[in-house]
Point group: C2
Chain length 316, copies 2
């Protein structure tokens, strides 16, 4: 049986592990993401594979940015990357093994569909709630990447035209209300402007974090911090309006919620979203399952490995 | 070569024609839609086929309502229909020929994709602007109908949560701003409440219409009627926000605008929409074509015939 590794490139770390063809994940290795650009990232992945200590036949890679036929276009959270990089070709040359590359959230959704909470679905929306809001789709029983590999930008669907400023430059995007970075910025502006007080930033300091992570938000919500409760309510509403619209457009059979916030909050988050979707949803909700991602941190590694194994099988 | 007819069931009329396998449409026949329910509609289609004066080998049918495997669920604009009707089986029994059935807008989009403005597209959104706002999708190079045949409800995507009341019972749907029936109701409320005056209703009377049709709106817009201009602007904005969101989610290569308003306004409508999409759109717009439906009134008949011919070929 071919030995395949799944690699998850993030803004901070690159994580990888050997994944069996039954999708079980071996011990993972984490290395810092180099800031010197694609060649350095390729070398870091080479080192990571050596640390895994096995002869790897092929790999799959998830990366935060649009991917089309192995070409990555301006990944917004990676330093030192030009406009367009053929990462598939670069890694294949560096590693001398077959490589497949996909967008990180699309790959995580593929992982959940292959081995997690998405198993058996024909028409699935994955919503990944983290520093930003990502999305991925399975449509007609197969992964859907769109015309240029950009599909799944759920976080930049517009739920309030002319509303809150989003990091992307537009207004009223889902991410402007529900992305953790946007929520933190909104909280900071409210506090700086004297309009509100909050325990968010003291919790952050207590935990030794320099950003308001999911665990910081969960603690503030548990404390019934009024500002955190309000901003979290707006986040849930924005995501729910988007999910309802996608359900009306695509007649889904499943919605999978993943990412840092889903890992921390689990079923509670799914129940909050379900209740908030209902008032906006045109199609019957009883044929749609709402579930939390089942592979936790490993959705991306499992999906990347599935992609890598498929590439090996096709002999591409 | 098999002789196939395309049949378009509407709330007022049923229209049908023989369509060649190069998608050219013969003389069409129109009969009033019976209000006594499915059996009467089947008999009316039988009469229509006799009027066409040819031995028909198979038909395809478009009907305004969700369709799954030939079963039509509660078509909102047809009188005398129960919750679920297997129209495919009923017509096959009545007519003794193979029958395929699809949702009317999905079928019209199929027509445009097969022979009109959608030709060659892999990932297409069709937006049909009429009494309501319909939608249809081609994804991954094939028609997309969703899990239960409800896919394409573009008109019930939410663009202003808590906004205008829609006929569907929800608030802030695209159709609540851009469906011709909603626009007429809004205009009437504004006039009745003394908040505005308009030439819409006198144009309607002059034209001998009992509803504000597309041609009534076009005339009022030409007259620079202030209320018509404002409501039409809100309609364009609502549709544009929805299109931008779908482009971000699905990374389309084409958007086709059809329905009564597109027939009357043509390129002008497409240009208005394109300009209004741009400020909301996350993905690059240069890889997406915006076009007017090319088959005018016959999208539905051509698409229905294509469906019928496919059914004959499959021997289902």
């Amino acid at each position: 049986m071919a030995v395949v590794a799944g690699i998850d490139i993030g803004g901070t770390n690159i994580e990888g592990a050997i994944v069996d063809d039954d999708h079980s994940v071996g011990d993972s290795v984490k290395v810092p993401t180099p800031t010197e650009g694609p060649e350095a990232v390729a070398e870091a992945i080479k080192g990571l594979l050596e640390e895994l200590g096995a002869e790897v036949d092929g790999i799959g890679v998830g990366i935060p940015g649009p991917v089309n036929a192995g070409v990555v276009t301006t990944p917004p959270n990676l330093e030192g990357w030009q406009k367009s990089v053929n990462l598939k070709a670069l890694l294949a040359t560096t590693l001398e093994i077959p490589v497949e590359v996909g967008n990180d959230v699309n790959v995580a959704v593929l992982g959940e569909w292959s081995a997690g909470a998405g198993k058996g679905s024909q028409n699935l929306l994955g919503v990944w709630m983290g520093t930003g809001i990502g999305g991925g789709l399975i449509l007609g029983g197969r992964p859907y990447n769109g015309t240029t590999g950009h599909a799944g930008e759920f976080g930049h669907m517009i739920v309030r035209p002319g509303g809150a400023q989003c990091g992307c430059g537009h207004r009223g995007c889902i991410e402007a209300y529900a992305g953790r970075n946007s929520m933190e910025d909104t909280a900071r502006r409210a506090v700086d402007g004297g309009a509100a007080s909050t325990t968010l930033f003291s919790i952050m300091e207590d935990k030794g974090k320099d950003r308001a992570t999911s665990s910081v938000w969960v603690k503030a919500l548990k404390n019934e911090d009024a500002l955190a409760v309000r901003l979290f309510g707006e986040a849930v509403e924005a995501v729910a309006v988007g999910i309802a619209s996608v359900m009306s457009l695509l007649d889904l059979d499943r919605v999978v919620i993943g990412g840092g916030l889903a890992e921390k909050m689990g079923e509670e988050l799914v129940e909050r979203l379900w209740a908030a979707v209902e008032p906006h949803c045109f199609v019957p909700m009883d044929s749609v399952e709402f579930v939390v991602a089942g592979l936790e941190d490993y959705s991306g590694i499992v999906g990347a490995a599935a992609l890598g194994r498929a590439g090996l099988l096709l002999g591409g």
